[in-house]
Amino acid sequence: MDGSALRVNTQLAEPPREDTVSTLVRRACAGDTRAFETLYRDHVGRIYGTILRLVAMDRARAEELTQEAFVRAWQKLGSFRHESAFSTWLHRLSVNTALMALRGKRDTESADEEALELAAGGEVPFCAAERGDLERAVSDLPPRARAVLVLHDVEGWKHEEISAELGMAVGSSKAQLHRARGLLRRALGEAA
């Protein structure tokens, strides 16, 4: 299956106007915490959602990392150059925060894989799976495969971007995606 055709763009239901966002960013950069709070409220849903999927639906961990991501964003606001959308910059920073946390837990990957092997073989076809089933299946993927799948198929990143962020070759990113999809299909009961 051609992975590039499967990207799903996730956007805010009502994205804030970029000129307003730019003003808020400048005010926050000057130390205005109220402006930063507005930015937080505008973006927290997307950021938390992405991090939640990357950390296998561990809500407590996702909350902790979301807080960490916004604190890092506050610290690095001065480096935001207003050349790209703030949401893109914040999203990347947040993904990076979550991925750093995942790198620290890489030693648990083999255990995750064993759990997935045991979980595979169910009878639920992919197209009929409910969101909860899908989220569980994605959560059970090994961390790196899950990260590639979430970033590519859910967040719409390119393999070049994923490989740069995860420190792997483009070919490895493609291979991880192929593996993740196969494991996901098995977990959802459909033969690859």
């Binding site: 299956m1 051609d2 055709a5 499967l6 799903v8 996730t10 805010l12 239901a13 950069c29 000057a30 130390g31 915490t33 930063f36 709070e37 937080y40 409220r41 927290v44 849903g45 997307r46 938390y48 959602g49 939640l52 999927r53 809500r59 996702a62 909350e63 979301t66 807080q67 916004f70 604190v71 506050w74 610290q75 001065g78 992919f126 197209c127 799976a129 409910e130 969101r131 899908l134 989220e135 994605v138 979430v150 198929d153 859910v154 967040e155 999809r181 299909r185 459909e190």
Partner: protein
């Protein structure tokens, strides 16, 4: 499975998710803690800026002295040197009864301004948002330009 089915399936997984609780109070307190940790690092920037201001003042003073006639210069220097914190080497160069004294004063002024400019740029690297440092750098650079022009003219 078709691509359409896969796309629909993955779309179910995506999208914003609101956290179970408001995370802002914790973030606000962490930001406040970060700001307090950062505060001491502002002192070097202000210290550098203050030093640069003194150096700029000294250079301007030396410049004024250099433009005075020689007899008046000696009198004024004696009075002012007693009351003004001007770098000693600048005064020494001015009071020298050397025919190359004006040139040396300009060279010293140029050195002082170059040092000042470098210090401000260092301070700006630490505090890129400090508008007063940018203004100071602009002033210093315009003084450097004037000194250079004066050197070439002299």
């Amino acid at each position: 499975m078709s691509e359409f089915e896969w796309r629909n399936g993955m779309r179910k997984v995506g999208g914003p998710v609101e956290p179970d609780r408001d995370l802002w109070p914790d973030i606000a307190s962490k930001i406040s803690a970060v700001a307090q940790e950062k505060r001491p690092s502002r002192f070097p920037a202000f210290a550098i800026a203050a030093g640069v201001l003194v150096a700029s003042g000294a250079v301007l003073f030396a410049w004024q002295l250099q433009n005075q006639p020689i007899p008046q210069q000696t009198t004024q220097e004696t009075t002012l040197a007693a009351n003004t914190p001007v770098p000693k080497r600048v005064i020494n160069n001015v009071v020298e009864n050397d025919e190359h004294a004006p040139r040396k004063v300009l060279a010293n002024a140029s050195d002082e301004l170059n040092d000042a400019s470098a210090s401000i740029q260092q301070a700006l690297e630490q505090r890129p948002d400090a508008v007063f440092l940018v203004n100071l750098l602009n002033k210093t650079n315009s003084q450097r330009l004037r000194v250079m022009k004066k050197s070439y003219a002299g």
